[in-house]
């Protein structure tokens, strides 16, 4: 087991280095740099000497390999550096948005779990009946609907409904309020993006619950449980569901990791200032440091989640451990 863990940790390093190389050189192929954008981006005349000075200050004139070494070493000693666009530390820029992204991710996960597990179970137990078809259509639709469009529809629906009921159209507030200051205002803003992304997310989890449960229901020990006269409810809840939740937990974990940085489009619709928006801004501003830091964080979360999931599997299922 220790050998397995050590091997898996060692295998994470090349992936991280590969991602570092990819993002570093990809960003530098993009024409223009942050200094040109900052000084001449508005179309005004900018003194070439000033641009040169800015590049010198940001270290953009160093040899490319020196820049790369700085970036990789910085990442390993956990010093992310400063944003090239705002000049503030990257940890500060992240801190501003992290709370919001984390909260939306948690809320969306909550929505997904309460929808998906009951629906997945019903669908599997009633396999090939009309209930199963309805649930499957509902979940496939969740994957098919673009969550940004669902977001637009939610806002539109709110406007129309509030207009009809109270006469005054109401929209979710745009200004972010911490849940510790005013929980009501916070939820009024964030519940909608959580529902829009949670539906999509639940669709993936419902399908996973259904297929995992169907597989478990064919196992011999389920037949044994039924043969000894156990109530069908107990067979499903105690014997089958527990053993089928593993892949569901996996998919929830992976989707959660994705939600942290992947809500670019949904944030756009709801005008949220989260990590996804920061991501797009940093690339558009040619803010190398910030983009690199964000990409490395996302890749790191992805790699670590996969590692934990594999470890979890190996721990629960000895057949994987020894193969």
């Amino acid at each position: 087991m220790y050998k397995y863990i050590a091997k898996r940790i060692l295998l994470m390093i090349p992936t991280l280095i590969g991602a570092a190389v990819l993002v570093f050189f990809l960003l530098r192929i993009i024409p223009g740099d942050v200094c040109e954008l900052r000084l001449a981006g508005t179309g005004l005349y900018a003194d070439p000497a000033e641009i040169e000075l800015c590049r010198e200050n940001l270290g953009l004139n160093d040899h490319i390999m020196v820049q790369f070494a700085d970036f990789v070493i910085g990442f390993f000693i956990l010093d992310l550096g400063d944003s090239m666009w705002t000049g503030k530390p990257i940890t500060f820029e992240l801190g501003l948005r992290f709370q919001l992204s984390l909260q939306v991710a948690f809320m969306a996960t909550f929505v997904a779990v309460i929808i998906s597990i009951p629906l997945g179970v019903i669908s599997a137990v009633k396999q090939d009946t009309w209930i199963d078809y309805v649930v499957r259509c509902f979940s496939i639709f969740g994957i098919a609907i673009p969550s940004f469009w669902l977001g637009i529809m939610i806002i539109l629906g709110l406007l129309i409904i509030t207009q009809a009921w109270t006469g005054v159209p109401w929209m979710p507030p745009i200004e972010y309020v911490s849940p510790f200051e005013d929980l009501g205002a916070n939820l009024a803003q964030l519940i909608w993006p959580a529902v829009a992304t949670g539906y999509r997310y639940s669709a993936v989890a419902t399908r996973m619950t259904r297929s995992a449960l169907l597989e478990v229901l064919r196992e011999d020990y389920i037949r044994t449980a039924r043969a000894k006269g156990l109530l069908e409810k107990l067979v499903i809840n105690r014997h089958a569901l527990k053993n089928s939740l593993l892949p569901v937990v996996t998919i929830i974990g992976i989707e959660f990791a994705f939600l942290m940085g992947g809500l670019v489009v949904t944030e756009q619709v709801f005008n949220l200032n989260g990590l996804g928006k920061l991501f797009v801004e940093s690339v558009l501003n040619n803010d190398y440091n910030l983009t690199q830091a964000l990409v490395m964080i996302v890749v790191m979360v992805f790699v670590v989640t996969n590692f934990v999931v594999d470890l979890f599997y190996a721990w629960l299922d000895p057949r994987i451990r020894y193969s």
Binding site: T15, A19, I29, I30, L156, G262
Partner: protein, 300 residues
């Protein structure tokens, strides 16, 4: 016992399947996979609309007509018009061309490259496989939106570059699935036999191994079409994808859907319905295909 006899009877009935016509086979599949058949109908309708767009559509998809700006749906414009006075129904019909073109290009290129790489990786094994898997890991972990932004910043926006941006992350996903199937196939004696006969590596990979991993390949391919349509819509919505005046569903939502959402909701509603239905159709079809092709998941 009842189950066994039933399946035997079914087996007898299915035996002379060569004599069946296409229609009969379609009927059988419809009975077995009603949802899949429904998905297939949506896909066929969409392909039909895309091919005959210029015959079916009532108006020109790109010509502005400001005198009809933001007209509500009526007898003349069934889905209303957008802020340039263009008929939304027409643009949705033409938009299916863009969606299908991007969807199929990304799926076919991504899945095919992934197929060859996945089988090759399993066939050669050893260090090559280990190295190759790490490269695939990097591309799987790399955020799609950054890839898309980088492709767009380097090559510019446009349909072709959207296809590049979407195809890149598809390759490792397909390669990984295909590789795990190919690993099992490599152990089957006929591969050794082919090697012993002195066939070249490329011949063994392409002629002997690739045909045997067609099931996971086709499953990935159909899943990719729906995903690609959805990703293209998202990228176009962000302004990183297909550009005006080309009719594309995601772009129609970007154009002014939010600004006019309250006064002209039809601008925001119809393109989203089109995207959802198209992806829904491909996913239903893909699910049925997976059930039919994957013996492990085949319903008993």
């Amino acid at each position: 016992m009842a189950v066994v006899t039933e399946s035997i009877v079914e087996g007898k009935l299915e035996a002379p399947s060569e004599d069946k016509t296409w229609g009969e086979m379609a009927m059988k599949m419809t009975r077995k996979y009603p949802l899949g058949a429904f998905g297939a109908v949506i896909v066929v309708v969409m392909i039909f609309l895309a091919i005959f767009a210029n015959v079916i559509s009532p108006y020109d998809p790109e010509a502005n007509a400001f005198e009809f700006m933001l007209t509500a749906p009526d007898g003349q414009f069934w889905m209303g018009t957008d802020q340039f006075g263009r008929d939304i129904l027409t643009r949705i019909i033409y938009g299916s061309r863009t969606a299908l073109f991007v969807g199929f290009s990304c799926a076919i290129i991504g899945a095919s490259v992934g197929l060859v790489l996945g089988v090759g990786s399993a066939y050669f094994g050893g260090r090559f496989d280990l190295f190759f898997q790490r490269v695939m890991d990097v591309f799987m972990a790399f955020p799609l939106i950054i890839m898309a932004l980088a492709v767009v910043s380097i090559f510019g926006t446009g349909t072709q570059n959207v296809i590049i941006a979407i195809t890149i992350p598809f390759i490792p996903r397909c390669a990984r699935v295909v590789r795990s199937s190919a690993l099992a196939i490599r152990e089957i004696p006929y591969v050794d036999a082919a090697r012993a006969l002195g066939f070249t590596h490329s011949r063994i990979i392409l002629r002997h191994m690739v045909p045997n991993v067609m099931a996971p390949f086709l499953i990935m391919l159909t899943a990719f079409v729906g995903q690609a349509i959805l990703l293209e819509a998202s990228l176009s919505y962000l302004g990183l994808g297909v550009q005006e005046p080309t009719p594309a569903w995601g772009l129609m939502l970007q154009g002014g859907a939010e600004e006019y959402a309250e006064s002209a909701p039809w601008v925001a509603i119809w393109p989203g319905v089109a995207i959802s239905l198209a992806v829904f159709g491909f996913n239903l079809f893909g699910d049925a295909l997976r059930d039919a092709l994957d013996p492990k998941l085949r319903q008993q």
